[in-house]
Subunit: 356 residues, 3 copies
């Protein structure tokens, strides 16, 4: 909490919202409906949840345009979550405190590290590492040789960045994530033994990417595994060698993307979905959770199932699936009836021998 | 191994079992059938596996009630696994050795740490952390500021507990697990860029919970992500922000639970299953491995498939699925036959034009 | 890069390939088509991609036998990936530099550690640990008591090897992997509470195994969880207690193998597939990505789907699945037609009342 205060009218201007109430009202923080108290601004994202506002003790509210009347001074906006994120981010932002490099961190040779960093104890930094301004590195992080970090990067505890990988600015990596492990590449000899193919590429993470806890992103065999600007990756995601993920995309938890696949911009991949290697997903593709994508997808495709089919078809197919035992029975009965009709109809004129 | 010994009669009393054999027989440990030797008590959990007892070199056995005769002195119980766990736990329990805080650990300001702990080297503990009695912390563990640990907690190597998270007593967390990473929450602006929603809640883990290796549990956006007493979570599980898992439940490996979902008591979720966000699973719900649950489930529901349907229906539907190619063929043949019948029957009187 | 150089004729002999071009041509490295320059040997694995050779600036190529003519001096081989791996491995191999044990590593009592190691800072090694020759241990690795490592092992940053686990020679473990976490074993009492079953076995990893980032392999309840020689395991894989994985197998990312399952030699399990506990997969079994295997499989079985069926049937069944809504409609129409035929045919003679 920054201790900063702001007037309601200023907050409305910050998010481009419509003010209903006293513009001079002083706001000092953001809280959800359950916990908000005097001085807080709270929010409701969906007009249908307006009933929940009854007991709210906040001083003001962020509400959707669809909510005609609010019981408290309010800022009305098209996208309440976006306005809350902007305002909450404002209140939480504190000036960066450059504590420097803790004496119990280990730093290799020939590094270029900004003076304006907060590098904790028990961090291991290899040789020739370059670290930008206002970077925070928590304990247990390991940076191999030749790693490059941009400005305003946050690496949470026990993150590993392997040799030569590059992170842009404002990248956030959560605990336990591994960037730059070797790709899963082998050549199999005539005896069925697997010989490791050297993995000599890197991983590059562009600006404004966030990567979840215990996610693994493999380095390229040759060249670069790439996560483009603004993409958000959840926990326990697997990204294979030479994959390229487009800008402003979401990969939800436990997704796996196999080697050399590329994706366009604004793609959304639901949790636990798998995407095969060497394919391309166009811009704005959406894949439902737990799906399996085996083929190229055109821009805007909306897919579900294993293998993936259009979401619309999947909804109907999966409903029919639950009725399969019934359908089997119906087919069996139809066969009996048709056989009976055939033999009944066959008495007078026969002649249907050829239709089987 | 505690070096403790116990008489067979005492062990029978400990587990409430029926003794068959000398109550004075001295037992000093537990081993499985393959490795047991003199002094050991071994076990067979299923009466149908009694043949395996032939070569057993143990001094005594724990056997199910259904096993009428055992070739060795025996304790007969309803639940052999439970009796083995109780007796084995007894033999393995050693007095806690409070080695204190290793000089190569790092401890922040204003912490309250019991004198009776075993905190290894290369552990990093933030500010204002509170740690109970008989807590064991292995190397590489990182506790952020304001973490609270109860009594008898064990944190294995390279575990991360993020800011402000609370663990109850007798919690065990296996290596690489991350408790309190940020939830996956963003608000998307009109250009399709994702703005991070601050994640200011915590994770609370109640007493007697065990959490597997490399599992990730996200902090709440606001409020608390909660795992209730006695629940056991396997490796590589993902639990999203604001989830609440009920008491005495099992989440098997690689399960994913999306944000804000709540579950009742005694729930069992099979491996690799995904559960959507914002739903509720009632008490004692069981979900088969690799399923996808999209809707609320009533207490006691037994579910399988993607999307989840009742397990009973799923068994029949999935069997029918394998026969789908056949069914397609049968339908094609039926259509041909019916068409032939229609045209044959149509010759004399027509009149069936309306039935299509 | 070793700085080593080699003549093209020598490289051809190394991989048993057919030389087309000057055997005296000096080669100093390997690169892909996009990045190769003078002195490099590059490669094309598939003759159909020969068009890509047009702009290649490499000095020589490794090409498949099917490629009759190459625009550069070439080595023609049956398996280009294998030849590239061999030649690239040769160029990358450098003499091991035994930097010893960093002063900021922590080593317990009674260890036997070869003088010829490279153990980095912030490594924690327990008591009675044995470490072979030419072993590399990156920062943040934790070895519990009684761990044994063979020769030429590489442990990447933040790996955890729990108590008593054994690794053979030439084992590579990527960052964040956990070897020897407790198996997920509990006995449930009459109140529905779960009592931990002690997990007192170990994990043994044989020679030439490679294990991916953030993978977890649980120790046996009793005895040994075993990964046999030459097997390659990708990132984020879960292997339960008492599992045995055969030689020269592939487990692709995010696979889960439940407890006590055993597999033969040369098995390939696709990404995100789950295998139930207590079953056996025969030699050379192949399971497609995202499948669920519930039953024993004979040698050579090729399986897909949940539950797994033969891949051939699955291809046809999954195609039919997408047509299910259509099939439902067809059945409905057939029922109507048959009903109409029955009632039309029933006018003259009735008598078909019993076929329903």
């Amino acid at each position: 909490m920054s201790g900063e205060k702001k007037k309601l009218g200023e907050l409305a201007a910050m998010v481009g919202g419509e003010l209903a109430g006293d513009p001079e009202l002083v706001i000092s923080g953001v809280a959800d409906l359950a916990d908000a108290g005097p001085g807080d601004i709270s929010f409701v994202a969906d007009a249908r949840r307006a009933a929940a506002l009854g007991n709210c003790r906040a001083s003001a509210l962020i509400v959707p345009l669809a909510l005609a009347e609010a019981p408290l001074p309010s800022i009305r906006v098209r996208n309440p979550y976006l306005a809350v994120a902007q305002i909450h981010g404002f209140f939480l932002t504190e000036p960066f405190v450059a504590t420097g490099i803790d004496a119990r961190a280990v730093v290799g040779r020939d590094c270029e590290i900004s003076a304006e960093v907060a590098i904790g104890p028990l961090v291991a930094i290899g040789n020739r590492v370059r670290i930008g301004r206002r970077v925070t590195i928590h304990p247990g992080v390991v940076l191999y040789d030749d790693v490059i970090l941009g400005d305003d990067v946050v690496l949470h505890a026990n993150v590993t960045i392997c040799q030569g990988c590059h992170l842009g600015s404002r990248v956030i990596i959560h605990s336990g994530a591994v960037i730059g492990s070797d790709g899963f590449g082998y050549a199999t000899d005539s005896q069925g033994r697997h010989l490791k193919r050297p993995q000599v590429g890197i991983v590059r993470i562009e600006d404004d990417v966030e990567i979840g806890a215990n996610t693994a992103i493999d380095r390229a065999t040759f060249g670069t595994t790439l996560v483009r600007r603004g993409t958000k990756i959840d926990n326990l995601v697997q990204i294979g060698h030479n994959v390229e993920i487009g800008e402003d995309s979401f990969l939800v938890a436990q997704v796996g993307i196999a080697g050399s696949t590329t994706t366009g911009r604004g793609v959304i991949i639901g949790g636990q979905t798998g995407v095969s290697g060497h394919i391309h997903l166009g811009d704005r593709v959406m894949v439902a959770a737990k799906s399996g994508v085996h083929n190229d997808l055109p821009p805007g495709a909306v897919i579900a199932g294993i293998p993936g089919i259009t979401h619309k078809t999947w909804l109907r197919a999966s409903a029919a699936y639950a009725r399969l035992p019934e359908l089997v029975k119906e087919i069996r009965e139809l066969k009996k009836k048709v056989a009976a009709l055939s033999s009944a109809g066959g008495e007078p004129g026969a002649g249907d021998a050829g239709d089987d």
